[in-house]
């Protein structure tokens, strides 16, 4: 693929390192900040893959909104409490999970590498995208034409999520 290998390797290394930090660090605030870094690294990879709108959304939604939500919750729940001190899972599960994940990962890599990737002549070659005004414009036009129904449905989903989150998280009325 015609992407810059240097940037890809840098971002990939960053992402893998910080995601390991996400799952291994004990402090939830630390986990959260590692996650932000992973998100940024992903945004970089999106950008070098040509998905500029997704990259922007990644920063805005993930690194911005979702992470803020996480941090808020951690603060709300007082992360300093001892209940946050985790990491004493059953050793068998730890080893078993690690082994199985490693096996699966190897299988996946092997399968990906062995599978032939046919490259059909899709309509959206980088040149075509360039010609029709860049990635963002192409995505937007598709969103409001071909994908209008799922797009509208996501609004319903978001509304349901808002109502649901409020209903779950709010205190019961009458209980102070």
């Amino acid at each position: 693929m015609d992407i810059s290998p240097v940037f890809f390797y840098v971002f990939a290394a960053l992402a893998i390192g910080f995601s390991l930090s996400v799952i291994l660090k004990k402090n939830p605030v630390g986990n959260a900040f590692s996650l932000v870094m992973v998100f940024f690294a992903f945004a970089g990879i999106y950008a070098i893959l040509g998905a500029h709108l997704i990259a922007a959304l990644q920063v805005l939604v993930y690194a911005g909104a979702i992470m803020v939500l996480f941090i808020f919750v951690i603060m709300l729940l007082n992360a300093d409490e001892p209940s946050f001190d985790m990491g004493r899972s059953h050793i068998g599960i730890k080893i078993g999970a690690g082994t199985l994940c490693a096996i699966l990962f190897c299988t996946f890599v092997w399968a990906i590498k062995e599978s032939p990737i046919n490259i059909p002549a899709g309509r959206f070659t980088p040149e075509a995208i360039q010609a029709s005004g860049g990635n963002t414009q192409v995505v937007s036009e598709l969103m409001f034409s071909e994908y209008i129904l799922p797009f509208e449905l996501t609004s319903v989903l978001l509304l349901a999520a808002i109502v649901g989150a409020v209903a779950i998280a709010k205190r019961k009325l009458g209980k102070n």
């Binding site: 992973v38 209940s83 999970a97 990737i117 959206f124 980088p126 999520a161």
Partner: protein, 106 residues
């Protein structure tokens, strides 16, 4: 650009995606803090997103990017509800340890 002579093989990007995915999965299994578990889920979602975008790039097809857009929406909704649940759980058992909520236990 001089660097563009070096090409990244597509399988390498996909292998990177699965690496992140399985790191997330492993975290899901070994951590007991529900907040961290939610973060691991976000990790796995991101890995999948990147797979989509990679295939979009390989195939010159926009469907992958559209999917990512919708997955981001779903992820946002999911974390909103999930964090709401965390708050409700914390209010009930004063903890975010998944071992504290074992209501399904026999």
């Amino acid at each position: 650009m001089a660097l563009s002579e070096f090409q990244v093989e597509p399988w390498l990007v996909l292998a990177f995606c699965s690496a992140i995915f399985f790191i997330g999965l492993a975290g899901l299994l070994i951590r007991r803090n529900i907040l961290v578990i939610l973060m691991c889920i976000e990790l796995m979602l991101n890995a999948v997103n990147l797979t989509f975008v990679t295939f979009s790039k390989i195939h010159n097809h926009m469907g992958g990017q559209m999917s990512v857009f919708f997955i981001i929406t779903v992820a946002a909704a999911e974390s909103a509800v999930g964090l709401g649940l965390v708050i409700a759980m914390f209010r009930t058992v004063r903890s975010v340890d998944t071992d504290e909520i074992q209501l399904l236990k026999q």
